[in-house]
Amino acid sequence: MSFVTKVGSLKSYEKGSIELNDDLRHYAFSNIFEVANNSQPYERVMVASNLEYAAEVVRAEGTSAWYTAPHDEFAIVMDGEIEFTFFQLADTQKATHACGAMKVAGEPQGKRMGRVRARRGHEVLLPKGAAYQLSAANASVCLIQTCAGPESVERWSKICVLD
């Protein structure tokens, strides 16, 4: 017997369903690919939120700004191919905010740390205190494990199934 594994993508996904005798807002049911299809490149749209913690969907297309966060973040590529470039930051550029990713002003002034080219199913460390930039030749999608921060976008009413 051979199996067929179903994996969604920007171009092809099938959303599940939620049939509950309850307030559906409590479940905030959404779909990563649907969210990415309706996002601007590099918007960080929250699809999960647990007090200060969050998971954000990013549509990667073209080249992003530089970001940094005061804690580790992790990106899981869900569709396409994304290149992640890492640099150290000068002391004057380092994040002073408490949580989440924020944009770096200008180009990072520290040493180059390395680069990762990741495809579907790959998980990438976005290390605490470093600057990182994403780029993708074609529209791609990643999910970022992080904290809610200055770049987080909340649009729950638009992304969630409510009836």
């Binding site: 807002r25 479940y27 998971a55 495809r119 790959h122």
Partner: protein, 331 residues
């Protein structure tokens, strides 16, 4: 809370079936060819043996997890992070109304030792309750020979991120974990990584799907990455979650591949609230006031995001936090 230590008392092996009977506090545990019989001062309850053993080994492996682990609608455990309640009928209206419900609190280590001892005696060679039913033998019948190998496995948590120097390692052929038959149709390449000297512990990536596809356990998550107290757990799911989980905090499910169907119940009463079908890319919160049980017709990959902040369970229990994650003002 200080609790007196309680030791498990084991009988001699049954002369016919070969299994031992056990007493732990006020509870008794006995198995026959098909069933486990749990007794307490005012009652007795029967659970099919496969379901009981699948639940018990996971309860041990998860360290009693977050909140309530219902082996079925009657019997289970609640984690208080240092102590564990074992209950029978406490969350069943019929048992409560007739006054036969019972709950006893034990030290966590005592419960772990008791459950391990029972499991080891009742699991025969050829039966592995952590595997999918299609991938293991039967637990039915008389005692044959103790199973070899570890009772629990697959739950070693990453400290920062799996695969970093000094951290846990992803599964591989070398670790004895081939790609599971149900995921053999996917390709598993590695990310391309360039690291400047000195940044080996900062620049890192690995194939998460490859790690999940190689799991030899089901419904048994591994921690792969940690953001402060936010824990990313990934797991391969096939057949049914052999427990009903009642969480003491909100958690989030992200369906990476295929499909899982979840039955949702009220946490306190067990009354059905409905069902959720999650397909690849779907994201759904599991609120803190429900029980859930999943059914995965084809082996699938699931990611769970947990908030492991200590003491969170007390804030939800006291009503200081809403039992759902997105509060009204955010809609």
């Amino acid at each position: 809370m200080s609790i007196a230590s309680v030791q498990l008392i084991a009988s001699a092996p049954d002369p016919v079936l070969g299994y031992k009977k056990f007493q732990f506090g006020s509870f008794t545990f006995e198995r026959d060819m098909y069933f486990v019989h749990v007794g307490w001062p005012k009652g007795k309850h029967t659970i099919e043996v496969d379901r009981f053993l699948r639940a018990m080994v996971r309860d041990i492996g998860w360290g009693f997890f977050y909140g309530w682990i219902f082996f079925d609608d009657v019997f289970g455990t609640q984690n208080h992070y240092g102590t564990v309640d074992i209950y029978a009928g406490t969350y069943s209206k019929g048992h409560r109304d007739t006054g036969v419900d019972f709950l006893e609190t034990f030290n966590t280590d005592d419960v772990r030792v008791a459950f391990e001892t029972i499991s080891i005696n009742w699991i025969n060679e050829g039966y592995d309750p952590l595997r999918a039913p299609m991938e293991t033998g039967s637990p039915l019948g008389a005692k044959t020979k103790d199973a070899a190998g570890p009772l629990i496995r697959g739950f070693e948590p990453a400290r920062r991120m799996m695969g970093l120097p000094g951290d846990t390692s992803p599964r591989s052929d070398a670790s004895g974990h081939p790609i599971n038959r149900a995921f053999a149709d996917l390709s598993y390449d590695k990310p391309d990584i360039e690291i400047e000297p000195g940044f080996e512990d900062q620049v890192h990536a690995f194939n998460l799907f490859d790690h999940i596809a190689r799991a030899d356990v089901t419904w048994n998550p591994s921690f792969t990455s940690i953001t402060r107290a936010c824990i990313c757990c990934v797991t391969s799911e096939e057949h049914m979650l052999p427990v009903i989980h009642g969480n003491d905090r909100n958690e989030w499910f992200i369906q990476l591949t295929d499909e899982i169907q979840w039955n949702i119940q009220d946490k306190n009463t067990g009354n059905p609230r409905g069902r959720i079908v999650m397909k690849s890319g779907d994201v759904c919160a599991m609120p803190a006031d429900i029980r859930h049980q999943g059914f995965s017709p084809k082996r699938s990959m699931l990611m769970v995001l947990e908030n492991g902040t200590p003491g969170l369970e007390e804030k939800y229990a006291k009503g200081e936090l809403e039992p759902f994650p997105i509060t009204a003002s955010r809609w």
